[in-house]
């Protein structure tokens, strides 16, 4: 659809060049040059406040334009300052344009309290180069953040179309409340996934307390500010972009064939002195393919997975306006297709997983009076998602469970095999193509209204901004589920015939649906005052905000579910600087959430910060090698009121006690629940029994927000005419009052349930930063970039079970620390077993895992479980890249990596032949493990082998969390390779385009990691997850 619009526009643009009939038009000509008198091609020449596309200069810098006398002609060119000329009597206008001064010092940074020049910023704030985020093929900007933005850690835990990455700022410093950052889009709390990256004007990450104290009890996890594009003076600026993607999996788990599987199953049995699973004759039948019913050889991944999927993305936006009103209008469409094969005979619906997103955004700025500006914006999105009826999770569970010999795709008589009728056990081909489909969609609308009033008639430098926002978000799903008749077959033939058991009846398509929704509204006002007295610069801001969120659907009968979640706050900032050399800043937030008890509702969160701009000191001011060198420090407090779904922790719940049976179900007498826990006020002959009541949840009146005390020391620098610039921050945080359930209160306290409290403490230390190096070599502009975020947290206090062994506590370790036994390799022989501490998890043989007896009590048991490795979520994220421009050609390469992460591998594939709950045979065998260095009796009795002696049907000694199964999650990958070619100006100007760029983008092209079983970025332990994609895309971007 976008494409049609674009083509249409480019055709009509010629006919609708600027025209007006009121006054006599004349044609003026001229030449546009730069300051060196070189002609500039491609300069936009337009008439101010008149609709139309204007003209473009040719190679010789010449243009011609129809215009009337006393109109203003605007000359605009990227990288140059605009020039405006009032046309009087002349017929020729020649212009020399000056390159804009785009140095680091003039950079503008968006903060919580409005725009600030970078030089004046005293807090830890990262401004993200939005261009860098655009090459990501994902549907969410978040996927592009990791390794691109210092201070942001992100992890893509699923590759399923439309799946959302998780991200956090600097570190996860709580184990109680939520750790999600506050995302503000155009000033209001909105989803980051709502925003199309093409619509983003600025993307800012606020990391320390000085930048976030204003948000008070919501700022502790960091804040992301996204401002979307707004209208701009000048000729209409049209941008269109169209892209096609071809995606395939970065790494699909690779499984062994049927014969290898069966041979290994036999080995697993015989190596434990059991009868082999498959007889010699059965192995031969399998090898020769003589029994496609009972001994088939199926590659299930190949059965269900495509080689590649095709997706697309189109964006179109218009931007323009005049003196009194300006507009921005954009639309986007993205279609991301999944990798499941479909049944081609099925015409009525699509079972492949996919995600489609339609977005639009409209904003208008109106100058109502000379000092009053009204901004109105509406934006919205429709996001639809499709999936096979049974759902993607069940499919990946089956794909990891179905071994090649377990079942054929269909039996020779047409019956459809399945392990059982539970969702995650059904044959993957059936799951993918015969279970109907489920669709879900979210439609969200955001409305924003701003009023900006300049109050210079009261005192110069005083401004007022009022903002109001109203959002509705709705999510709906319909599941249309069906199931064919499913059969299981007995392990052996009976007189040569298959013995079937039906495991599921045919289910004709049935429908279930559901929905949820919310409504939010926001109101804010700011009063801003700036004053300069000679070298003294003052600024002050007062801000009031309130917001509410109420769920609109599926509330149930509990009244408190329908009560809006409200936040209210008053905050402010005072700043002063002397001669742009010494900066002082004080921020505060006084905010409250009505989720807490009246006495613990509001809190005061102050922060102060200061900066010293060394480069502006007189002794350095004239040094030309230093452009900026600023040292800054901040210290302050912010809070976190996000307790997840917990509502009104200070209230208790009371319920009537009813008699229950052994299964916990209420017993009914003639349809009336039987009371219990009460007293018989009558006698035995004529009872008068009254039931009792109890607390079903206990009140925790003192629960309040978590408090984060943050310190940040940073330097911003730019040296050698901006050739070398960067930002480096050292930070520390102490999070106190972490919300958690107090599960270890002694029972003599007499409580019926567990209370909650603000009891945990976590300490965080780390650094983040980025450096950029720019160099021009002949005609090539080179840019080298690098950034890194590292943090380490430590639990200082936590409510946990007391123990005599310190290492068993979570206290003293990271949040989410991996825990397990320490493996010392494999047992060498029986002597080794006899001479080692007794392991209590079951009988051991040589080739089984030997564990360390940490507490030295002579036995290895669960008390020897200790902190090992790091956390699943990486503690180090880094990225580096290289960009080069040469004439129309540009190349951009970006590597991204993560470190200090470790995760356990387990589950039905890793724990070979462990089997599922239903018995034997469940679980596929990974090729890397089968052909890797594994312990084999008589062949490879290596005590340091990568995989232990096989066992069939589980092995409680080997198959438990230990360093043996802990994997290093660090990786480095070529995240994006972006090659673009802009057509020469002379060519594109001929068809009245400003710019046309073809580009090729490849993502996840190369991955370096020691973990080979599946994509390490998933951080997944059992492989039951839709893998990430490697995407190749080709696109065209046009500007006119």
């Amino acid at each position: 659809m976008m494409l049609i619009c674009f083509v249409f526009l480019s055709m009509v643009s010629k006919t609708f060049a600027q025209q007006d009939t009121v006054q006599q038009e004349i044609t003026i000509t001229g030449v546009v040059t730069d300051t060196k008198n070189e002609p500039l091609a491609g300069v936009n020449v337009s008439i101010s406040n008149v609709p139309g596309l204007g003209a473009i200069t040719d190679e010789a810098g010449k243009y011609s334009l129809n215009v009337r006398r006393y109109q203003t002609i605007v000359f605009a060119f990227v990288g140059y300052d605009n020039v405006e000329v009032l046309l009087k009597e002349q017929n020729e206008v020649n212009i020399a344009m000056k390159e804009s001064d785009a140095s680091v010092i003039n950079e503008v940074v968006v903060t919580a309290t409005g725009n600030q020049r970078r030089i004046a910023v005293t807090g830890a704030i990262t401004t993200v180069d939005v261009e860098r985020l655009k090459s990501n093929p994902s549907t969410s900007m978040v996927d592009a953040l990791a390794g691109q933005v210092p201070g942001v850690m992100a992890m893509q835990t699923s590759g399923r179309p439309g799946a959302l990455s998780e991200f956090w700022i600097r570190s996860i410093s709580t184990f109680g409340g939520g750790s999600a950052a506050l995302v503000l889009v155009d000033g209001f709390e909105r989803s980051i996934n709502e925003v199309n990256v093409e619509d983003v004007e600025s993307f800012t990450v606020l990391k320390d307390a000085s930048a976030t104290a204003i948000y008070g009890s919501r700022g502790a996890n960091g804040v992301i500010l996204i401002n979307t594009k707004r209208g701009k003076d000048g000729k209409v600026d049209i941008n269109a972009k169209t892209e096609g993607f071809l995606s395939s999996f970065t790494k699909l788990p690779d499984f062994v064939d049927g014969y290898t599987y069966a041979s290994m199953a036999n080995e697993a049995k015989t190596t434990r002195n059991q009868e082999p699973l498959y007889s010699a004759a059965e192995l031969e039948i399998l090898r020769l393919g003589l029994d496609p019913d009972l001994l088939p050889d199926v590659d299930w991944m190949d059965v269900l997975m495509r080689d590649a999927a095709y997706s697309q993305r189109h964006v179109l936006n218009f931007r323009g306006g005049g003196n009194t009103a300006r507009y921005y209008l954009s639309g986007g469409y993205q279609d991301q297709q999944g990798m499941y094969k479909v049944d081609k005979a099925l015409k009525d619906y699509n079972t492949n997983t996919n995600f489609k997103r339609y977005t639009y955004r409209l904003s208008v700025d109106m100058d109502v009076t000379k000092s009053t500006l009204i901004r109105a914006g509406v934006s919205g999105s429709l996001r639809t998602r499709n999936d096979p009826g049974i759902g993607t999770d069940a499919i990946w569970t089956s794909l990891m469970g179905y071994n090649p010999v377990i079942f054929p795709i269909t039996y020779s008589d047409g019956k459809i095999p399945s392990w059982s009728n539970s969702d995650g056990n059904i044959n993957p081909w059936v799951q993918g193509t015969m279970t109907g489909y489920r669709e879900s969609w979210s439609n969200n609308i955001q409305t924003t209204l701003n009023l900006e009033q300049n109050l210079k008639f009261i005192t110069p430098g005083l401004r007022f901004i009022g903002r109001y926002g109203y959002d509705t978000n709705n999510h709906n799903w319909i599941r249309r589920f069906k199931l064919p008749e499913l059969w299981n077959v007995a392990r052996f033939r009976n007189n040569g015939e298959l013995v079937f058991t039906r495991v599921a009846e045919e289910k004709i398509m049935e429908q279930t649906s559901g929905s949820n929704g919310e409504r939010r509204d926001f109101f804010e006002w700011d009063l801003i005052y700036n004053k300069n007295i000679k070298k003294h610069h003052f600024g002050a801001i007062a801000k009031y905000m309130q917001s509410s969120k109420v769920f609109t659907q599926g509330l149930g009968s509990d009244l408190k579910n329908g009560i809006a979640r409200r936040i209210q706050g008053l905050s402010g900032r005072v700043n002063y600087n002397f001669d742009r050399r010494y900066f002082l800043d004080f921020n505060f937030g006084y905010t409250g959430s009505e989720n807490f008890h009246r006495d613990h509702r509001f809190g005061f969160f102050p922060a102060f910060s200061g900066a010293w701009n060394v480069a502006e000191e007189p002794f350095l001011r004239d040094a030309d090698w230093i452009d900026m060198f600023k040292i800054r420090y901040s210290h302050g407090r912010t809070g976190n009121d996000n307790l997840g779904d917990t509502r009104f922790p200070y209230l208790y719940d009371i319920e009537t006690i009813y008699a229950r049976n052994d299964n916990g179900e209420i017993i009914y007498d003639n349809g009336i629940p039987r009371p219990s826990g009460g007293y018989n006020f009558g006698d035995i002959q004529s009872p008068n029994y009254r039931g009792g009541m109890r607390y079903s949840s206990v009140s925790s009146p003192y629960v309040s927000w978590e408090i984060a005390t943050k310190k940040d020391l940073g330097i911003d620098f730019s040296l050698f005419q901006d050739k070398f610039s960067g930002v480096i921050d050292l930070f520390s945080e102490r999070r106190e009052g972490i919300y958690m359930t107090r599960a270890y209160l002694p029972s003599f306290v007499g409580l019926e349930g567990n209370t909650s409290g603000n009891v945990g403490v976590v300490d965080v230390r780390g650094f983040d930063g980025n450096v950029t190096f720019k160099q021009r070599v002949n005609n090539v502009n080179l840019t080298l970039r690098g950034n890194m975020t590292y943090s380490k947290n430590e639990i200082l206090e936590r409510d946990e079970q007391n123990t005599i062994y310190d290492y068993r506590l979570q206290q003293g370790h990271r949040v989410g620390q991996a825990r397990g036994l320490i493996a010392l390799g494999l047992f060498k022989d029986y002597d080794d077993i006899r001479n080692s501490p007794t392991q209590t998890f079951g009988e051991v043989m040589p080739g089984d895992i030997k564990y360390k007896d940490i507490n030295g009590d002579g036995i290895v048991d669960d008390t020897d479980v200790a902190a090992i490795g790091a956390t699943v979520r990486p503690n180090l994220i880094y990225g580096f890249g290289l960009s080069a421009n040469w004439k129309g050609l540009d190349i951009n390469m970006h590597f991204q990596g993560a470190g200090k992460s470790s995760f356990f591998i387990n589950g039905t594939t890793v724990y070979m032949f462990q089997g599922g709950p239903a018995g034997d045979g469940w679980g596929n065998i990974l090729s890397q493990m089968a052909y890797g260095n594994r312990w084999v009796l008589g062949e490879n009795e290596d005590p340091n082998a990568d995989y232990p002696r096989l066992s069939y049907g589980g092995n409680p000694n080997n198959y438990r969390a230990s360093t043996y199964w802990l994997r290093d999650g660090s990786y480095l990958r070529l995240k994006t390779l972006d090659i673009g070619y802009s057509l020469p100006k002379s060519l594109v100007n001929r068809i009245r385009l400003n710019n046309a760029r073809f580009f090729f983008i490849a993502t996840n092209l190369l991955t370096f990691s020691s973990f080979k079983l599946w994509d390490p970025e998933l951080g997944n332990s059992d492989g039951k997850e839709y893998p990430l994609s490697r995407t190749l895309s080709l696109g065209l971007q046009v500007n006119l």
Partner: protein
Amino acid sequence: MKVEKMSKRWKPFHGVWLALIMLCFVQCKDSSEDSSIADFDPSKPVSVTDFLPKEGGSGSNLVIYGDNFGNDLSRIKVVIGGKKTKVVNVKGSSLYCIVPSEAFKGDIQVHLLDEQGEELVQASAKENFVYVPKWVVSDFIGKYYEVDNDFEEKEGPFDDCGGFKGISWLTFDPLNPNHLYFSADNHSARKIDFENEWVSYFRHGFARATAINWKLDGDRDMIVSENHASDTRNAHYIFSRSSNFQQSTVINQGARGVQGAMVHPINGEFYYSLFRAGEVHRYDFETQQRKLAFANPYSSVAIFMVVHPSGDYAYITNYNTHYILRSDYDYTKKTFKAPYPVAGGSQNAGWLDGVGTNARLNNPSQGVFVKNPDYEEQGGDQYDYYFCDASNHCIRVLTPRGRVSTFAGRGNNGTSGYSNGDLRLEARFNMPKAIAYDELRECFYVGDTNNWIIRKIAKETPDENEEEIADETAKQ
């Protein structure tokens, strides 16, 4: 919808993208589909070069290698030891067939047939398949239903008698080895007549019938116990042989929750277990007196009781607490004494072979004493005790010296299921609860409760077959 249409119109455009992108990387996909199996070529000879395995019994898988077998199942016939075999699949140079029963000679012949089924050519293996007769599990009676809803309950001949739900106790008429009865809790009890190969209802008229026993004296009438939940109602009824077990008289003795019962084989008194009370009571037919024989260690358990043929002791099986106790008989007091554990761990379910209480059982139920000729030399107790281990889906053996091993079921280390064949390698049951030993035919019948059929465990013998036995007994 509009969007859909538009995007369709622009499909060719997408195709261009796709083509461009596809140029960027070349992907090779190898097709592994082999359709190259040659048809049978009449101009070439057929030969059998080898086969695997070299020995086995009825129902074994057999792979035969050779040349020019063709690929049409309907055009190939394999004969082993003179018996036609079931060929499962044929692929040119190999075929897969099932060793038929009683293929004692073991010579292998492969015949290629024409479309009319006339033989074209044949080939034989040079060596013979060694046919080893062995103990195997097979179907006895009852239809195995692949689809639960197809279940049909009816009387009829052995090959068409429907399925049997709830089988809980199997017992032979002590005077007629051709009559086997089973009770089936709240489902219909049956009489299995070997002579006429006919299964008919045995109508007792109770909501839940559990144990069936036989009086020692007189006509050896049948005692059927009803399992009900009333402390005062009578539970035991004597069905007289003279009425062909159609008329009954009640034993005037209330009993609640009777699961197991037994008659002492020497003195003839009647014992029965009570579920709720966890007690075993003794009833004397002569005095019509009831008294407590002993208390079971647990109450609220189903207790099955099987007395040793000598009358010296009985096994008291605690179904819910997973172990078997032994109660010795006091000949002076003429009653059973307090029991002691002999197999399995109380309240400790599991599947583990071993000695006595080290072994683990999971819902043991009916058992049967079978004389073991191997014990003749050593003297002492001559009987092994074979019992159903229901939730382990197998038949276990308890020797007189207290060793528990697995006799049949859980083929290939699996658990439940329905498979015939080799006792431990292949056979599978699904909650077998009842077992009887047929001394005449030297085989076991197993009530495979959740498969709704009765299975047979027997050793193949080259010289006799069942019909002959039936004829013999008919003559007696």
